[in-house]
Subunit: 199 residues, 4 copies
Amino acid sequence: VDKTRLEAFSDGVFAIAITLLVLDLHVPEVGTGSLAHALLRQWPADASYVISFLTIGIIWVNHHNLLRHLERADRGLLFLNVFLLMAVAVIPYPTALVSHYARTPNATAAAVAYGSVMVFMALMFNAIWHHARHSGLLAPGADPREVSGITRSYLPGPLLYLTGTLAAFVNSSASLLIFAAIALFYVASSSLWGRREPV
Amino acid sequence: VDKTRLEAFSDGVFAIAITLLVLDLHVPEVGTGSLAHALLRQWPADASYVISFLTIGIIWVNHHNLLRHLERADRGLLFLNVFLLMAVAVIPYPTALVSHYARTPNATAAAVAYGSVMVFMALMFNAIWHHARHSGLLAPGADPREVSGITRSYLPGPLLYLTGTLAAFVNSSASLLIFAAIALFYVASSSLWGRREPV
Amino acid sequence: VDKTRLEAFSDGVFAIAITLLVLDLHVPEVGTGSLAHALLRQWPADASYVISFLTIGIIWVNHHNLLRHLERADRGLLFLNVFLLMAVAVIPYPTALVSHYARTPNATAAAVAYGSVMVFMALMFNAIWHHARHSGLLAPGADPREVSGITRSYLPGPLLYLTGTLAAFVNSSASLLIFAAIALFYVASSSLWGRREPV
Amino acid sequence: VDKTRLEAFSDGVFAIAITLLVLDLHVPEVGTGSLAHALLRQWPADASYVISFLTIGIIWVNHHNLLRHLERADRGLLFLNVFLLMAVAVIPYPTALVSHYARTPNATAAAVAYGSVMVFMALMFNAIWHHARHSGLLAPGADPREVSGITRSYLPGPLLYLTGTLAAFVNSSASLLIFAAIALFYVASSSLWGRREPV
């Protein structure tokens, strides 16, 4: 398989999942009450929107970078990619859970649901990359340092997200802070190992 | 017609239909009850999401593979493809029916609705492939063994899905298991006849 | 402007509008009543889905065919195309109106809303084609017979849809039949003037 | 990074955001009352749909024009673009607020929410353009007059939208008129500095 339709389909799913996040923002029914106060009180929903949008945006940049190193795809990669997209596409749902149950006793369950999706997503990134390296799908001219940089960057992902998920049982706000920190880690890490190349 | 916009439009519909499945997952209203229990109780909705996501993913891989063997499209193919996309795009609806009415006396009607869409979808795959072969749309260099492999792989589809649909009148869970088995059959079958080629 | 991103953006809007139609199909709440009966009773919603899906599919085929004759786009074409897409993207809304108010005294108002969108859409097709012809955007090798065939095919569109719209004041079902007949006219007409070419 | 996937992803988000606007149009529940009157009474929702559709359409044309002058993208541009898309994708939400609270005492808060998104969006356009110019991402053959034309055209954007936002505290209708005027300004301005080139 050449990569063109794989990229087109993936980009479509990323673009739709990231855009559907706006459906989690509801017009508050205040009647003649104050809309301004209602909008300010719903800051957890706004924060969820921003964090999830950035997270999907970062996943897209990483996916983009991963595929750039491949010369071609095979059927196994197509199916692993479908599983990755399944996790990406469902992100608006745990986002809605977190935004709805923030500051309630159920915030822990919502954060665990969010974190579980992220653990699965990080596992799929590792599976795709592992499959690509061991099935000869990498482009011949791929820089070995970049390749091992990606490997090193993906490996801690599942463990990091698992830590954030388990932290929810202690403190659900700490859990969300860890998820935000992981996102920042991936921005920084991708900037470090991506420095020498024009992407 | 060259195939580029046909692929772009189809990929768009596939990407959106597969991503809209998340809208069938609703934030449960538990107030101060247990969100964890509510999430566990809604496993039929989660299972429907996973099965439908994989099914649309498999249909996409098959569609991708079908178009790969075509050199060009004609107007008839465009319209047959619109009918196929009509079935793909509606999948989130019978998925919602199944997920809503699982474990109720209405599970049979929901499974029949789901199966009917699948029968129609399988018929359209056969119609597109039949049209492409008999209107000279295949690429000149298409491997005859692959072409007949696709033909053989599509032919039983409508009958298989009809069997699953009729099984719903006996037992709706058996029906859903058959739908899952058909999906696995197509993954395996596409791996078998697709083995010798680099896709 | 080269046409690539214009096509990509348009295909995206077409793909999304056609896929959003499924959101007009609602899971009926029947409790322990009969889901089968409820599904059969909602045939107007199913018929609306099919007609609107085919209509957007036909519009996409026509849009595809129109752009194929252009060599390039200019800013005026981009903006006229945005207006055309505005009509296409709103189609799910009058479709929902028709499907909700069929067989009620309000069916006339719903059919008029549907028809008005179609009149506007047909006007935009004429405006785009007129602009393309008179601003030198056509491909140099465009077949004059095909070009005038498209012109002749677009011209009656607004009048035909206006007739269907006005018919709603007499009989809303007749109005919907006229809309379906216009769709068939465009399928047939595009087959006639498109016969000699490989598209 | 070559620009292809950046354009594909951005076009996807633009296409979806612009198409999701239709979800802000609700089928009015009039029972046996008059649907025609209900549709006429909801003209603020219709006007919001048209203005937001045109606004996103204009942003898309500008984004298209901006990327046309770039030779390549870097990681910083990808992330700045994600922030721009975040503003574009959220537009359906403040549009729904404005359409819901027009002609109520809360119209001011809704207009401020709408304007704040627009200010952020205009800031992101400036940030992307500034980054592209100072990181050597412009195409070597870019016409200096066009480049400085774009710079001059983007600079007043944040201030213009801020003015419209602050005007909401005096009169929310004036605020919406200013937003519509800014859109027209960008259509005219892009026509002026874009006149000599074939786009």
